[in-house]
């Protein structure tokens, strides 16, 4: 016996169904009845009823990517406001390794960072980390907030919404799963994106939103409606709400990061005078608008400035690297550097491929998800358990890394080079994220995707061992 249908708006306590229905997320079972415990929209999957909330606070989950604001600097950690009932902490060791430094020189109160949730413990202490592509401090741009439950809507089906906004406005956009969004582009475009995000938040529960947003953006930016070829962005009302777990989002974020990484790489390339012209134009635009700030804090120079002051840049790096070398005296420094380089190179080569694969895979996953309504619940469970396994593996691999001192040393080294980057400015992560990459490898391995990935999986330890045994 069911009393509601898909997409119905229900209130807490409302009886949704009786007898042979299962209570999904946002519902509870009482005396054989399935009731809603939220103000939200009904989502039916065969016999499983869920309610997707229209408003909700962000609950931190391990592995989520979030945008946080430094609100405290202590002796060995930063306090980070992650727009949640639970404050986050970023241990200094995530940035420096074992060494203690003046933390506020790296991140100060008010800085906004892109972070990954490393762990949420029993007392809801949220430990944050910077391992991952694109992680670090944002420079420039604006922060827009959106209800965390509406983040999937902002992303859209396979990223349709967010990519459309990016295309139309030329802004860089990074979405945190905690409902904070970073936008950087031309000043007026930033404001347009901000208004658009607010509009999406307000109308998230209505259908045909992507098209309306697109028309609006076209009117605002081009002064005319788009040509009639956007049929493929067929909007499905429940897509956006179906997975509040944001599986699709995570992939989106990865892709986003990959994009940025690609861009960063181009910026690095700039040093070698290998300039992509269009990219350059874009950077210049930003440069102009940012002139005001360049003198505010020299150590924070944006990467765009690199073109102008190559020498400075190198010097800075040298300086910061000196710092690290002092810390790892027992290791052979040169060798570490060498191996580090090797790793970086390797990753540079292979990363793109991985990303491509990831994307393909994630899209598959999403498609699966969307069609799931026709499938058995068992399958969904399978998918979930798979997820869990992956997570376990991650943990394992992390443990492995920590177990071996040698690996730790390199880990630290890599972290430090990362922090150096961060000190230089935003979004310039050198490829030092073993764990992150390793996770992907593990995933690939599990799914037997390609021999290439397996080889990468094996490669890690030998490289590490070489560096430390010397």
């Amino acid at each position: 016996m069911i009393y509601v249908k898909e997409k119905d708006l229900v209130v807490p306590g409302e009886i949704l169904a009786e007898d042979d229905y299962y209570a999904g997320r946002g519902t509870f079972q009482e005396n054989g009845k399935v009731c809603s415990n939220l103000l939200g929209l009904v989502s039916l999957r065969n016999k499983k009823i869920s309610v997707i909330p229209l408003k909700s606070k962000y609950l931190p989950k391990k592995g989520d990517v979030v945008i946080g604001k430094i609100d405290d600097v202590r002796f060995s950690m930063w306090g980070v406001d992650i727009n949640s009932p639970y404050p986050g902490i970023l241990p200094a060791s995530e940035v420096f390794g074992r060494d203690k430094k003046d933390l506020s020189r790296v991140f100060d109160i008010g800085d906004v960072l892109f972070l990954r949730i490393v762990d949420v413990d029993e007392v809801k202490k949220v430990k944050l980390g910077l391992k991952g592509r694109g992680m670090g401090k944002f420079k420039g741009g604006i922060i827009v907030d959106i209800a965390p439950t509406k983040v999937p809507r902002l992303i859209g089906k396979k990223g349709s919404m967010i990519n459309m906004i990016k295309d139309k406005t030329g802004c860089k956009i990074v979405v945190g799963q905690n409902g904070l969004v970073w936008v950087k582009g031309k000043q007026e475009m930033e404001q347009i994106v901000k208004d658009t995000i607010k509009l999406i938040e307000k109308e998230a529960h209505t259908s045909g939103l992507t098209d309306r947003i697109k028309n609006r953006l076209c009117l605002l930016i081009d002064g005319e409606l788009p040509e009639e070829e956007n049929e493929e962005i067929e909007e499905n009302f429940d897509d956006a709400f179906k997975k509040p777990e944001l599986q699709d989002f995570r992939e989106e974020a990865e892709r986003e990061l990959a994009d940025e990484k690609a861009q960063n790489e181009e910026d690095f390339d700039d040093l070698d005078e290998d300039i992509d012209e269009s990219e350059d134009d874009f950077d210049e635009d930003i440069d102009e608008s940012e002139d005001d700030f360049e003198d505010v804090d020299e150590s924070e120079d944006d990467f765009e400035d690199v073109d102008e002051s190559e020498d400075d840049f190198d010097e800075d790096i040298d300086e910061s690297e000196d710092d690290f070398e002092d810390e790892s005296e027992e290791d052979d420094e040169e060798d570490i550097d060498e191996s580090e380089e090797e790793i970086v190179e390797d990753e540079d080569e292979s990363d793109d491929e991985i990303i491509e694969e990831d994307e393909a895979e994630s899209e598959e996953e999403i498609v699966e998800d969307e069609d799931e309504s026709d499938e058995e619940i068992i399958e969904e469970d399978e998918a979930e358990s798979e997820e869990e396994i992956v997570e376990e593996d991650e943990a394992e691999s992390e443990d492995d890394a920590v177990d071996e001192e040698s690996e730790e040393a390199v880990d630290e080294e890599s972290e430090e080079s990362e922090s150096a980057d961060l000190e230089e400015g935003e979004e310039k992560p050198k490829e030092s994220k073993f764990l992150d990459t390793f996770k992907h490898i593990k995933e690939q391995e599990k799914k037997n995707k390609s021999p290439f990935d397996l080889s990468r999986g094996n490669r890690k330890s030998p490289t590490l061992n070489i560096s430390s045994n010397k």
Binding site: D108, I143, F293
Partner: protein, 263 residues
């Protein structure tokens, strides 16, 4: 303590230095004002005013009491403000914060010094009985610029305040509840608050502008003769002479916008 993200601050400053505001307003443009007078039946005068998304409710309650010794023939005005915890996540219950006291006093000064209410007409028996007006400000939603919103709300409430006619018969105070008199209001005052951010002074700051302000200046201007009746500077950064004079000029030039809502 709410920390403002550094990049948000920079973005707002950058906009203002380029002559723009985040919400697209001009520097001397106020947000939308909505005045709802007479919303509380039990109060002798009341109003709810919305300025952008800032909302303030004002109730006026009269009572009869003794005048102050140095002004035996004038009535008494008391302005009190509560920044309710519902208005913002950082507002806490408890005794009035310094901010809420400042708000009450700035609004009070604007009303008092413009001699808007003819307080002499509120004297019932010299030295013994005068009307005391309690103006209670309730901030229910804080989205920037409480000063101007509160000032409009107080004005709107005073303009619809009605008092029983009071007289002394055989040394006894007699209140005639059937013959109500309008509060003797003879002028109006427009409070205009500016904030300095970067190189610009903007009127009617939004919350995000207020969070990053360098300095704040409120200017009260009377409807009759455009007298400056009250001013208050806030914030940690100094203002120049020209900035202040510009603000005063804008306050006078735009004051009628506010009075339109009070008709």
């Amino acid at each position: 303590m709410n920390v403002v993200p550094e990049i948000s601050k920079r973005s707002i400053v950058k906009l203002i230095n380029n002559g723009k505001r985040a919400d697209g307003r001009d520097f001397d443009q106020r947000r939308e004002i909505v005045v709802e007078p007479n919303i509380i039946t039990k109060a002798e005068g009341s109003a709810k005013v919305t300025l952008g998304d800032t909302q303030v409710i004002v109730g006026v309650k009269p009572s009869i009491g003794e005048p102050f010794a140095d002004t035996p023939d004038v009535g008494v005005l008391m302005t009190n403000c509560e920044m309710l915890p519902m208005a913002a996540p950082e507002f806490e219950p408890g005794p009035p914060s310094p901010e809420s006291i400042e708000l009450a006093r700035v609004v009070d000064r604007g009303i008092r010094e413009s001699e808007l209410v003819d307080l002499e007409k509120l004297c019932i028996e010299e030295g013994k009985k005068v009307w005391m007006l309690f103006i209670d400000l309730h901030v229910i939603d804080y989205d920037g610029n409480l000063f101007d919103c509160a000032n409009i709300a107080v004005m709107a409430a005073l303009l619809n305040t009605k008092l029983p006619t009071a007289s002394i018969v055989d040394d006894e105070l007699v209140l005639d509840e059937e013959n109500l008199m309008d509060l003797p209001v003879r002028d109006k005052v427009a409070l205009s608050t500016f904030v300095k951010i970067g190189n610009g002074m903007v009127l009617d700051p939004s919350l995000e502008e207020e969070e990053v302000l360098d300095a704040r200046l409120s200017v009260g201007v009377t409807q009759n003769n455009s007298y400056i009746s009250s001013m208050q500077k806030g914030g940690e950064v100094p203002l120049t002479r020209d900035e202040i004079l510009d603000a005063v000029h804008t306050a006078i030039a735009t004051k009628d916008e506010i009075f339109e809502y009070l008709e």
